[in-house]
Symmetry: C2
Subunit: 181 residues, 2 copies
Amino acid sequence: MKKFEEKTIHTEQIYKGKVISLQVDDVTLPNGKTSKRELVKHPGAVAIIPITKEGKLVFVEQYRKALERSTLEIPAGKLEPGESPEWTAERELEEETGYKTAKLEPITSFSTSPGFADEIVHMFLARDLEVVDEKADGDEDEFVELVELTLDEAFRMEREGRIFDAKTAYSLLYVQAKGLV
Amino acid sequence: MKKFEEKTIHTEQIYKGKVISLQVDDVTLPNGKTSKRELVKHPGAVAIIPITKEGKLVFVEQYRKALERSTLEIPAGKLEPGESPEWTAERELEEETGYKTAKLEPITSFSTSPGFADEIVHMFLARDLEVVDEKADGDEDEFVELVELTLDEAFRMEREGRIFDAKTAYSLLYVQAKGLV
């Protein structure tokens, strides 16, 4: 897993932010030459595929400043310091949807943008959803709205461009492949 | 598509690099409060699912500095100025794999990390591959090795963690769902 390894000669820290940091590494390439790599550091995130007892998928509509538009996505959120992915997934599911589950199943983990970022998203399946009695508040700068859809409706939203991100596109194919609804 | 819109009050340019840029925007939230958004700007990219006449999928093994490891991914690359996604896809397919096709089919486009980056990946399917007579050279700082796998072998590589990125994970489910091999 270290094939064609690029060794770091020097790291320049450019920015350290609330969510991400940016550094530029000088590296030695396999042919002995050097190059620069611009690298975004991210704490990692979770995403949850919530399926209601009625067989609907739960999405959140939210504004994505990076895209300057709103999207329909499966619930997701970044890891807070000291949190395991499981804890984050339980917390984000409850904060964003008002649902909880006793049955949180890890599916897979993947890198979202391996060319420039170290973000890894840990994917979970949440079935047998129960409504939380007293919904916890989420981040104070986060505004989301719940949307429950059948798988067919969700694929239509994807064709129409309202579902527009990799983890959610992956989720729809996963639910279909596993026959989960 | 502008629900919960966050209006920009001020943009601070932090870094302008070879591949990505970083800016921090002050925004007005729907409740009138303000917040900061750390935003990575990326030119966009393409990814290609190449299927050989023998029904194998073509991957490239490469070192990903952001992850400090090598991965098996479908061929991909960023858009150069003035290039259409189709051109980029043809170019990257040829540079990275030595294959070309007369049949490049757009599948979908998605945002990879909507929480902090504007990167969009345009996905293509490449069937009826032909070996290029004289392979064009790729980026001089890019070292890749070709790996051809059946879909079953690819799913095994994913379970073993050698396939580890969202666009490639999506590709495997897509090929399976559409019965392409």
